[in-house]
Amino acid sequence: MKCKLCNDKAVIKLKAHNLSLCASHLLAFVERRVKNSIEKYGLFKKDDSLLVAVSGGKDSLSLWQILKKMGYKADGLYIHLGIDGYSDLSLDKALSFAKKLEGRLWVVFLKEIMNLGILDLARTLRRTYCSACGAIKRYIMNRISIEKGYTVLATGHNLDDEASSLLGNLLYWKEDYLRRKSIVLKSEEGHLVKKVKPFFLVSEREIAAYAVISQIDYIYEECPHSRGAKTLLYKEILNMIEEDSPGTKLNFLKGFLKRSGKVGEEKRDEKPVKYCISCNYPASGEKCFFCSLLERVNPSGSIVYREYSFLR
């Protein structure tokens, strides 16, 4: 099979786009898709200061590389959750990559703030691991963005992540989630940073190919507490449909965003919110869940940002 663009040997066939591509044209393809999404959906501008949420996985590392390559000012943030056999390894990957990229990586150790890892914190919060973990990560990502002056927070969510969560929310008619589901969440001065997902139209397979060709050394193992089962099931089902009818995942997600008028439209929750008296984050009571949790488990604790700069 030959590359449709240059006749070199193809390394991948993208059926959804009816394209077979060589290694260098696959890289260019993924980069162009990201560029188009940024421009078409107004994700951010050249003078924005970006923070990329880096997990050590293929999506976040590839995203960071692409944004830097495109000339954006983009630093990384890694949150060490204190998960045995997973956190240390993924931090290693994130750090080596930051070095290779000559970037700046912020590292936050959850245990350093709370004295506890995510599993104990989830028990304290009486939430499932992933739900507690998600909330804590969102909080920290937001807080550092505001404190360090980043104007946009970018995450590596890809087409498969978005399509599978859309499917899950539709199956159980989770209207709250559906109403909020978007690829851009606007900022709220001093409270919430703007959040974007530049990979939302790039499939997991395309990103993995990008990472393999770029020789990005990412963590292949999953978090041992991955909510996995359901997400994986939905992804697998979508991929079975995709194999039969290429392009379905893209149509599914694009169709939803179009119908819900969510593209480019920046909406947070509508209900009036109160803000935490100690950190300004949205809160249901006086203090947000994070500050209350900190008070409970480690009253003298505070967030420590460790900076690893390989900038040249």
């Binding site: 099979m1 193809a10 390394v11 991948i12 066939k13 077979s20 290694a23 997990s55 996985g57 293929k58 999506d59 498969d160 992540d161 499939s203 997991e204 397979r205 990103i207 993995a208 190919a209 393999v212 060709i213 292949y220 999953e222 978090c223 991955s226 909510r227 996995g228 089962a229 997400t231 994986l232 992804k235 697998e236 991929n239 079975m240 995709e242 194999e243």
Partner: protein
């Protein structure tokens, strides 16, 4: 044609498959979805129509993550 067994690596495990065969057949044999996997032969990403015959190493990369 004489067929020989070759080691194929997937998720850190090594299994044995008879070669030569097409990448497409390899995935089918293992009941793996082509949208969810990439195949790397001797360090090079390959398309599904490629025939694996003299390869030293074959690695299947699962691209789907549960996160």
């Amino acid at each position: 044609m004489l067929s020989i067994v070759m080691p194929v690596e997937i998720d850190g495990k090594k299994i044995e498959i008879e070669k030569p065969l097409k990448v497409q057949e390899l995935l089918k044999k293992l009941s793996l979805n082509s949208e969810g996997h990439l195949v790397v032969v001797d360090g090079r990403l390959v398309t599904e129509d490629e025939i694996v015959s003299n390869a030293e190493s074959v690695k299947i990369i699962r691209v789907v993550s549960g996160g």
